[in-house]
Symmetry: C2
Subunit: 356 residues, 2 copies
């Protein structure tokens, strides 16, 4: 089923309004969520809407949070999200980061007491229009094993970094610290297809091609896959994200990060901090060198990488290219939702008396 | 041949003195270089000493640089290394980062006009004693292909992040953004052994087990190895390091980063900036939350990861564990140098009239 993005976005906004979000928050949250659909991170978009409503139903989501600064210096702060939508808390924290960058060159905010913040790239990209570099990370419930571990201790813990250029579109890296996103496993599960070796391990920690491995006690593997191919580096990266987002803010960390509201996986267990943690950063380019000079060099960087000779049938991309192309295509031609997602939305429409 | 680390360190110091480094700089540079030998990053330690001397011989190294701040805000700066030893320029920049962190919570320094800075972890770990988180990155001459590229456009571009704990030793992640360090390829070359698939590609961009592939027009692969296993993420990571170190500082970037002084690979080609670039950062823990609370939570993090059930015959490590264990072992039992390295050192001893 194909839908216009603006239609879906408006529906999302109305659902957030229906659970009690203020007008501005509902609009912002709908922008973040639809941005994931547009940029091809389908698992973090409209498909999650009913999950946020389940978080609300279970008392884990405060639709009208009092987001506040717990502690700060001129360039750092911890922000308490007051159990608000991560979709709203993270942009709020990013605005504080940018204010600090305006004042003293950079701003770095660690966030506690939040929940799933959607697509990391959205928050990092907020910095671009101010000629700043944006940085966004979040921890998440454990799906990933450290190298040599049988136990899942880290989330897919993504990193996004957005860097402005002048004539070229911005450089936007946005990736999980795993070999593959869990959404790709779900696609294989629906098809009944095996997974490439290096994506998952079984419950004994052995390599497997079972695309249901995570459900069967196994785990996603860190970027690198196995020790020989550098999985300790992907593990290190996921750990850095966890520490900056969770430990530095006073949120939960490691295996204690509460799950998102997927069916049958609802309750948070023992807690060592408050909610889920994020880390947002902004650096003013002209805190380093004139923005025009920097952006001219970024154009040179991007042009040079695009010009590299590619293997047959491929081209060399710059981070952000595929998502931007998809966004243009989906804005023009609509967003294709799977039947279970459409049914979820119809259920929400019935419940809240919203047309869909 | 086994040498006491203090003997090697003192020899290194004397060589740096002999090429005209001030007393303090020679001592600091010797500490950084020997730290690589101690922590198992053999390719970045004593083995590089003759390379730094070749840089000096070729006029690419200023032994007595006037390191200066080009531009700054309260939390950011660009520093010009004046062609000094990266081993000295990077710690200088880290000190400026820590001063800024003391003043305004964090400090972020992009460095131009430097050269190889040795082991990234050394610089990041400088922050630990001040209850700060340290961050160190550098770009390097191109050995790595972006995903789908036949051409080498990025260096091995390492990242180091050091985080203090209380009763446990610090968390220290320090890794290149490639599947494997080039030093591991050199070990295979000496043995005449093939490389695992996923480490390198040949000059046409095909997977290969040729451990001489990089010499034969091929390239190291980004962390992830191939597109299916997330090489675009390792490429993104290496690109972020390059942009923060090179583009933000006004150093060279991408394929223009000048080579280190290895034989037959001496001259820098076209330049788009000044020398090699680094990026150093420091964040004061109590810019976020009380350091004691944070460090207690880091202990909990570290203990929890150590306690995870491991696959047979292994244990779950925390980043920094292997290097710290090796450092203790090598401080006690000495450092084993390969014959070519010993011959290099003997050559330097003869040239400068230093006992070895």
């Amino acid at each position: 089923m194909i839908y216009e993005y603006s239609y879906l976005q408006d529906f999302i906004r109305k659902v957030f309004l229906a659970i009690g979000c203020p007008e501005q928050d509902a609009l912002l949250a709908s922008k973040v969520l639809i941005s994931a659909d547009l940029r091809g991170v389908d698992s973090h978009g409209t498909a999650r809407l009913s999950g946020y409503v389940r978080l609300y139903d279970n008392g884990r989501l405060n639709p009208n949070p009092q987001i506040k600064i717990v502690h700060e210096t001129p360039s750092t702060a911890v922000i308490d999200g007051d159990k608000g939508l991560g979709l709203v808390v993270a942009p709020h924290a990013m605005k504080v980061a940018m204010e600090k960058a305006n004042n003293v060159g950079s701003g770095w905010i660690s966030v506690q007491n939040s929940n799933h913040f959607g697509i990391a790239g959205f928050h990092a990209m907020m910095a671009l229009e101010n000629d700043m570099i944006g940085w966004a990370m979040t921890n998440a419930a454990p799906l990933v094993t450290p190298t040599f571990s049988k136990e899942k201790l880290l989330g897919t813990n993504p990193i996004a970094v957005a860097v402005p250029a002048e004539k070229n579109p911005a450089f936007v890296a946005d990736f999980a610290s795993t070999a593959v996103a869990y959404g790709k496993m779900e696609i294989l599960q629906r098809k009944g297809s095996p997974a490439p070796i290096g994506w998952v391990q079984d419950k004994e920690g052995n390599p497997t091609d079972d695309s249901n491995a995570v459900k069967n006690g196994g785990a996603l593997l860190p970027l690198g896959g196995d020790r020989e191919h550098g999985s300790h580096k992907g593990y290190g990266l996921g750990a850095i994200v966890d520490i900056f987002s969770g430990v530095l803010s006073g949120a939960n960390f490691g295996p204690w990060v509460p799950p998102f509201a997927t069916a049958g996986f609802m309750a948070a267990g023992e807690q060592v901090g408050k909610g889920t943690g994020h880390f947002l950063g902004a650096m003013r380019i002209d805190g380093f060198r004139p923005a025009a000079d920097f952006k001219a060099d970024m154009d040179r960087w991007i042009d040079r990488f695009h010009a590299a000779p590619a293997v047959d049938g491929q081209k060399v991309l710059v981070p952000g290219d595929p998502e931007r192309e998809l966004e243009a295509e989906r804005k023009a031609n609509g967003i294709n939702l799977l039947e279970p997602v459409v049914n979820d939305l119809k259920g929400l429409a019935d419940r809240f008396g919203i047309e869909f």
